[in-house]
Structures are given as structure tokens and as C-alpha cells.
């Protein structure tokens, strides 16, 4: 199958039923430290899955286990239904058919662009190399050295190199974090676009929640070596499973609340809930809040941030809690102004 065919047939194809990557109850220890504990998730064929978490929470270890650079302690990794890693099975990395795009590209400095792309191909595959250079928009640059091209181009060469042998799965290890902020979004869209066009099953490891939310079909939130939540980006944003996930994904106003008789009350309102009586916490996103001229909760503007398209205000409510409110530029009140804050929609409630 060449990529032209894939381009036509797979771009809007539905992922098949059997997941390409299936991870079950995966655990890994280094010495006395549990780096991963009982991690399970699937990556559907042709989909983009993001593993999202702060640094040092086991993301890179997970990726190295899938690629075969580390041995599995417990649990299993399957690709296309075939077991490639468990406590007893370790398929060598060179026999897994898993492509990898490391953080800094990791191009071979002694080889030119064409030789880098052709590294995983049998000798004499120059047609395929040209095809891949065309795919990533680097036509005619085959004779350049890695040191002679820009960071974004290096990242595209690394992608072409990983895709050339038609891997069953491609792992992206924070591939955009080394790029300038100005270039990052453009290269990211381009790379993800190529992966989607070729129908490549992709696992993106990142600490950047915006990157995960905007590119992935499925997001796996990894906190402290365990899966804190997984689902579609909208799922995770709108219904975070815990305070920790809420705090990590997007801007969050976490307000103290109290539930009594099936109703939870907080500074900006109340709603029904199924919690037992007691203290609780509610999550209200900044865009759920607005300024109003009548009937809101009173507060004073303490901070003011201007973003061009809109802005946010940090408002100290009269009960002492500080909330972040996303507002249109016209409503961007000065620091010290007295404002009324109102909430739209329902808050997400967490019991204690």
C-alpha cells in the first residue's frame, strides 16, 4: 500500500474495531520507585492518542516500554492483537514495527537527510525516500546535513524517517517542545495532518494540555504513574474525574462548597447533587463566568490580563475567594473596579 492510496481511502475512514495498541495493567518499577502502576488503555487503529501528564509522571517510561527499550515488569502490551511485551515476553525493539520521533528529532548527524529517511529501509529504496520527502514537504533536500536545516525541518525528517518503513504505530515523544513557540503550532498541525492523512496510529506523549486537547482523538491523563482519567478531549475538559485532573486540564476555579439534603451551595450559586451532606469542591471554568449588571456576586478586580482576542480578570469575591473570569475586551475592567460576577451552566462537583 502506498501513501497515495492511503490518502484517498483512509483520510475519513472509520477506525477498525480492534485497537492497534492495547495496554493492560502495565507496571514498571525502577529500584524502589513505582514509575507505572496498572496502566491500561487502547489506541484505535488510525487514531491519535495523547498521553498527557506533567514531567516525571511516567510518560517517557511508558513510551520506552512500548518501543521495547525497557522490559515490562507486569501487565502486557499488544500490537494488532499480538503480545509484544509482558513479564515473560520481550520482543526486541527492532522487531516491533514501532516508529519513534524523539523530542529533539535525534537525526543521525553523520548521514544526510535522504540517508536518515532511508535508514530503516532496505538498500536501494530511493523511490520510497523521495516519496517520504515529498510527503513531509522536503523535496530536493536529500543531500543536506541535519546541521544545515532548521529545527522544524529536522522534526519533519524525523517523522519521514519513522514513517518510511510503514510502522504499525508511531510514538511521538514531546516532539514539538524543543521548537520555538512561534513555530510550534504550525509544525504540530502539519505533522498531525500527515499522520492522519496516512492513517497512521499515533501515540503522542506530551505535558502540554493544549497540544493534547487540540490534536488527539483520545486523551490518557497520567498522574503519579496511574491513569487518572481517559476519554475524548471534551469529556475530560467538561467532566474531569478528580480535582487533580481538573486543575491540570485548562484553567480551573475551584471553589469551596457545602452539600446539604442533595443540594450543593457555593459562592456563585447552587445546584442539585447526589453527594452525602458535608464539605465539597466545585469546578467552574473561567468561560462559565461573566460580568453582569444585576444580581451577581460582588467582587473587586485584582488582576487583569489582556490577550488580544479576549482577556481574563482575577476577581476577589466578597467571601474572600479569588476567581478567574474570561471576558470580552469590552468588559476588561480596570484593577480595583467593583464588579458583579455571574455563573452560567452547571459546575462540576467533587465530594471530599
Amino acid at each position: 500500500m502506498n501513501d497515495a492510496e492511503r490518502d484517498g481511502t483512509m483520510s475519513d475512514a472509520h477506525p477498525s474495531d480492534r485497537p492497534t495498541l492495547s495496554i493492560t495493567n502495565l507496571s514498571k518499577r525502577f529500584g524502589r520507585v513505582d514509575v507505572l502502576r496498572g496502566v491500561s488503555f487502547d489506541a484505535a487503529a488510525g487514531s491519535v492518542t495523547a498521553v498527557l501528564g506533567p514531567s516525571g509522571q511516567g510518560k517517557t517510561t511508558l513510551l520506552r516500554l512500548i518501543a521495547g527499550f525497557e522490559k515490562v515488569d507486569d501487565g502486557s502490551i499488544e500490537i494488532d492483537g499480538v503480545l509484544i511485551g509482558s513479564s515473560g515476553v520481550h520482543v526486541r525493539p527492532d522487531r516491533r514495527g514501532v516508529g519513534i520521533v524523539p523530542q529533539d528529532g535525534a537525526l543521525f548527524p553523520h548521514l544526510d537527510v535522504a540517508a536518515n529517511i532511508g535508514f530503516g529501509l532496505p538498500r536501494g529504496s530511493s523511490t520510497r525516500v523521495d516519496e517520504m520527502m515529498h510527503l513531509v514537504g522536503l523535496d530536493g533536500m536529500g543531500a543536506r546535513r541535519p546541521s544545515e536545516i532548521s529545527g522544524g525541518q529536522q522534526q519533519r525528517v524525523a517523522l519521514a524517517r519513522a514513517l518510511a518503513p510503514s510502522p504499525r504505530l508511531v510514538l511521538l515523544d514531546e516532539p514539538f517542545s524543543a521548537l520555538d513557540a512561534g513555530l510550534r503550532a504550525g509544525i504540530r498541525d502539519e505533522v498531525i495532518g500527515i499522520l492522519r492523512r496516512t492513517g497512521t496510529t499515533t501515540l503522542l506523549v506530551t505535558h502540554d494540555q493544549e497540544e493534547a486537547m487540540s490534536t488527539a482523538d483520545h486523551v490518557v491523563v497520567l498522574l503519579g504513574g496511574v491513569v487518572a482519567q481517559q476519554g475524548s478531549p471534551a469529556d475530560i475538559y467538561d467532566h474531569p474525574a478528580s480535582v487533580e485532573v481538573a486543575r491540570f486540564i485548562g484553567d480551573a476555579n475551584l471553589l469551596a462548597a457545602r452539600s446539604t439534603n442533595g443540594r450543593v451551595i457555593h459562592a456563585l450559586g447552587g445546584q442539585n447533587c447526589d453527594l452525602p451532606d458535608g464539605d465539597a469542591t466545585v469546578l467552574v471554568r473561567p468561560e462559565q463566568l461573566a460580568l453582569t449588571s444585576d444580581g451577581g456576586r460582588r467582587g473587586v478586580v485584582e488582576r487583569r490580563a489582556y490577550y488580544g482576542h479576549d482577556g481574563t480578570l482575577g476577581v476577589r469575591l466578597d467571601n474572600g475567594e479569588l476567581v478567574s473570569v474570561r471576558v470580552a475586551i469590552a468588559d476588561l475592567a480596570p484593577v480595583g473596579a467593583s464588579v458583579d460576577v455571574v455563573m452560567r451552566g452547571l459546575a462540576t462537583v467533587f465530594g471530599h
Partner: protein
């Protein structure tokens, strides 16, 4: 990211690396093993008999005294000079900094030849002391300049604020902060003195190496040579352990963060003092030997023609180059293993190669003679045995070079190559080896030069009829024919010392 957590469960290294690495490490232990075997050969009573003699005791004192004096003198010389070139506004400090490190490239027997040919009365302790200090102080000076370079400038400022601004006090304060570097360098100097053969032999000072050589020359008493060699090895080992313990206790105040270029401290009227100190040290260690060699070559003329010098040079180059290539080949699997698959076992292999390096050259030479006589009779006094001895002696030098250049390669490159379907040995061939090629070339050059200036092993094991620059120089010096030695000394400076200085300077 990119953290490299514990390596205990990393994927196992390929057997194609492990097997040659283990074999090489084991083979490099052979000289020491053989020495132990010889020492115990005639049983414990004989061993004790050799050990408990007054002369053995005197030997320990004489060698220890020499090592202590040279080490002390090296520290006294190095501390103010290293401080001046790194922390003060000494004129021409950038050039001084390099010039003062150069004596490291001069073989001790060469410096000894220069001095004794000028003043034969120097023979004995003072001659050996002078020569060894002149050639080995850079072992303290070099780490100290590095440490002073990283030293936090605020310490100088604090000292000035507290009224301790005099130059002497600043130097002492800085040296105290860098006592780790002083200790490490002192250890190297002490080990150098204990294992040196050329200077003590030329100066006829009865230190361990010279007496061991005598016991060997006397011929009938291998036990005595082996016992003395083992005592020397134990002393050296004791020093290494003592330094490691001392180092473990010191708290370093040297910052690891990048320090802005320190504001140099003004020497004012002290400048002249430091200038003349730098000048005298480099005159004694560099200027004088070179001048003497030129005098001998120029004034007296030698019976040996250019052809003899050329053939000795060829003798030096030939075996040294073969040995260097072989050494680097043997070092490759160990160096790659340590750099790419770090584990306790691979580190142990790495350390094993250092054992022989810690043995003085004369000890390795004698051990190899025993091995030659008993096991490798067919190649005794033939080229292969000499080459093997060089390999054992310089293996750690090559392992260090291979390892350092392999550690420069990001491990991600290996990982990517694996994920692209290449087996571990294909990765070594197609990624690691091409990338460490410059490091391999540099290591080969350094080992070649080191072997070319090596004296005791070459002297005892060279193939019958072969002469090298070092052995020629030695032969003429022993019979006080300094005019005859002159051309060979010059050739060593031109073909060994200068390239060594350039090669080490570029690192």
C-alpha cells in the same frame, strides 16, 4: 524529560559486545595474577623471608620519602601558579597557562638525562627529586586550574570584605576551597613517582622500581622481584584508597553552575614575583632540558649517523603503532559497553583494565617476562610479547578515550536505530562506530605516543636486535656517553614530546 532512571532492568547488551569485553578484561588482569603466582611460587616461608628484611624496609622509606617530597613540592609550585593564571591579572596568563602544563609531555628519563649530563653530582635523591617534580607537578596544576576556573567569585569578594585581601591569603583561601583537586592531583603525582623508572634509574636512586630492576637483572631471584613488586602495588593501592576516603569526606564549595568570568584580582607589585616564579618553573622543567639536548647535539657530534636515529625511530613507531591499533580494538567493546549499557558489571570490566595501569611499568615488564618465559616461550623477546605488554599497559587509556567519545553520542540515536529495525550490532556498526571515529583516531594517536616514550617495558621485552629511541637514549646515558645520547633525546622531543603536548592540548 529524557531522565534515565535506574539501569538494572535495561535490556541486556548483545553477546557480541559482552564476550570480547569480558575476555579483554580478564586478559588484562594476567600480569597481576602472574605476579602473585610467582611471589607464592616457592611457598610462604620464602616469601616472608624476602619481605622481612631490613633492606625492604629501607626501600619503603626511600621510595616513600621521595614520593612525599615530590608531591609536597608539586603542590607548593602548582597552587600559586594555577591561582595566578586563573584568578589574577598576571600578564600573559593565557600563554602561561598552557606553557606551565607542557612539562607533562616530557619523559622523566629525558629530563633526567639533561640534568645529569650537566651535573653528574646530582645523582641520588636530589636529582630524582628535582627531575620528578619538574615533570610531574602538572598533575596537580592541571586539575587545580580547572577547579579555580569554576570557583565561585563571591568567595574572593567575601574575603576582601572581611579584610583578608592580601594576595597570599586569597591564594590559600582558594586552594582550601579546591582541596579536592589538590588531593586528586597529589595522588597522581605520588603514583607517578612510585612507578617512575626513568628518573630514579638515571639518577641511581635506590627506589623500588630501580631495585626491582636490579633483582631482575641479577637473574637468579624472581621471587624477590615479584615480592617487591607486590609491595609496591600494595602501597599504590593504599594511596588510592586513602585518597578516595579523604575525597569522600570533603565538602565541595566549587559551584557547578556556570560562573561568569571572574573579575581578575590585581597583583600590583606582587606581579613581578609571580612572573619570575612562572619563568623559573618553566625554565627548569622545559627550557633547561631542551637547551641541554641542543647543546649535546650541536657541540659534540655523535658517532651515530642519521641512519641509526632513523632506524631507532622506526623501531619506536612500528611496535607502538601496531600496539595502539590493537589496544583500541580491544578497548572498543569495553568502552562501548560502559557507555551504552551502563551497569555494575560493565563498570567492573572497565575498572579491571585499570588494575594493570596502576602497576608500574617495570612491574608489568617483569611480569610479562615471566609470562614470556613460562607460557609464551615462542614469542619471548619477539614482537608479539612486546605488543601484548603495551596493550595491557595502555588499555585503560584507550578505554577512556572510546568511552568518552561514545558517551557524547545521545542514547536516543541508538534507540531510534533500533526502532527502525536494526539489531544491536548493526546499531554499533552503522551509528556508534562512525560517530566515534574521530575519538578512535585520537585514542590511537595518544596510545602510540605513550608507547613510544615508554622505557622499562620496551627495554625488557623488545625483540632481540631492535632499538628504539628510548632504549638508545637509555643505553648511552647509562655509560655516560651524553654526546651519543643527544640525537636520540632530540628525536624524542621532536617526535614524541611535541606531538603529545599538541594532542593533549587539543583535548
Amino acid at each position: 524529560m529524557g531522565s534515565n532512571p535506574g539501569f538494572d532492568r535495561r535490556v541486556a547488551p548483545p553477546a557480541a559486545l559482552v564476550v570480547p569485553a569480558v575476555l579483554a578484561a580478564l586478559a588484562s588482569l594476567a600480569p597481576l595474577a602472574y605476579l602473585v603466582d610467582i611471589a607464592f611460587d616457592r611457598g610462604m616461608p620464602e616469601l616472608w623471608d624476602e619481605l622481612w628484611q631490613e633492606r625492604t624496609c629501607r626501600l619503603v622509606v626511600r621510595s616513600g620519602l621521595l614520593a612525599a617530597c615530590v608531591t609536597l613540592a608539586s603542590v607548593v609550585v602548582s597552587v600559586p601558579l594555577a591561582w595566578a593564571v586563573m584568578r589574577s591579572d598576571l600578564r600573559g596568563r593565557r600563554i602561561w597557562r598552557i606553557v606551565l602544563a607542557l612539562p607533562l609531555a616530557i619523559p622523566s628519563y629525558l629530563a633526567a638525562f639533561a640534568w645529569i649530563s650537566w651535573a653528574p653530582s646530582l645523582a641520588g635523591f636530589w636529582g630524582a627529586f628535582l627531575v620528578l617534580t619538574a615533570v610531574s607537578y602538572p598533575y596537580v596544576y592541571l586539575p587545580l586550574t580547572a577547579a579555580f576556573g569554576r570557583l565561585d567569585q563571591s568567595l574572593d569578594e567575601i574575603a576582601t570584605i572581611h579584610g583578608k585581601g592580601s594576595v597570599t591569603r586569597l591564594v590559600v583561601l582558594a586552594a582550601r576551597q579546591c582541596r579536592g583537586a589538590v588531593a586528586g592531583g597529589s595522588l597522581l603525582v605520588a603514583l607517578y613517582v612510585l612507578s617512575d623508572f626513568g628518573a630514579v634509574a638515571t639518577m641511581r636512586y635506590d627506589a623500588f622500581t630501580w631495585v626491582i630492576y636490579g633483582a631482575y637483572r641479577a637473574g637468579f631471584n624472581p621471587t624477590r622481584a615479584a615480592v617487591l613488586a607486590l609491595v609496591l602495588v600494595l602501597i599504590a593501592l593504599g594511596l588510592v584508597v586513602a585518597e578516595a576516603i579523604a575525597r569522600g569526606r570533603t565538602v565541595s564549595t566549587v559551584t557547578t553552575r556556570a560562573v561568569e568570568t571572574p573579575r581578575p584580582i590585581r597583583l600590583r607589585n606582587r606581579s613581578l614575583w609571580f612572573q619570575s616564579a612562572a619563568l623559573s618553573v618553566s625554565m627548569i622543567s622545559l627550557g633547561f632540558p631542551v637547551w641541554r639536548i641542543l647543546v649535546w647535539v650541536d657541540t659534540f657530534g655523535s658517532e651515530d649517523g642519521l641512519g641509526d636515529v632513523a632506524s631507532a625511530l622506526w623501531g619506536s613507531v612500528r611496535y607502538s603503532l601496531i600496539a595502539a591499533i590493537l589496544t583500541v580494538l580491544v578497548a572498543l567493546p569495553i568502552g562501548l559497553l560502559v557507555a551504552r549499557y551502563p551497569s555494575r558489571t560493565s563498570l567492573l570490566l572497565d575498572r579491571a583494565t585499570y588494575v594493570t595501569h596502576a602497576l608500574p611499568g617495570i612491574v608489568v615488564a617483569i611480569s610479562m617476562v615471566f609470562i614470556g618465559v613460562r607460557v609464551l616461550r615462542p614469542v619471548y623477546l619477539e614482537a608479539p610479547l612486546l605488543v601484548l605488554a603495551y596493550v595491557a599497559l595502555f588499555l585503560p587509556l584507550a578505554v577512556g578515550g572510546v568511552r568518552a567519545s561514545a558517551e557524547q553520542i545521545p542514547i536516543a540515536l541508538d534507540d531510534v536505530a533500533r526502532s527502525l529495525g536494526k539489531g544491536p550490532m548493526a546499531v554499533v556498526r552503522r551509528v556508534d562506530l562512525p560517530l566515534i571515529a574521530p575519538g578512535i583516531a585520537a585514542s590511537t594517536a595518544l596510545v602510540t605516543l605513550a608507547a613510544m616514550k615508554e622505557l622499562p617495558v620496551t627495554m625488557l621485552l623488545r625483540p632481540t636486535g631492535t632499538e628504539t629511541l628510548a632504549t638508545r637514549l637509555w643505553t648511552y646515558t647509562t655509560v655516560s656517553d651524553y654526546a651519543g645520547a643527544g640525537p636520540y633525546a632530540l628525536a624524542i622531543v621532536v617526535f614524541v614530546a611535541i606531538p603529545t603536548a599538541i594532542a593533549t592540548g587539543r583535548r
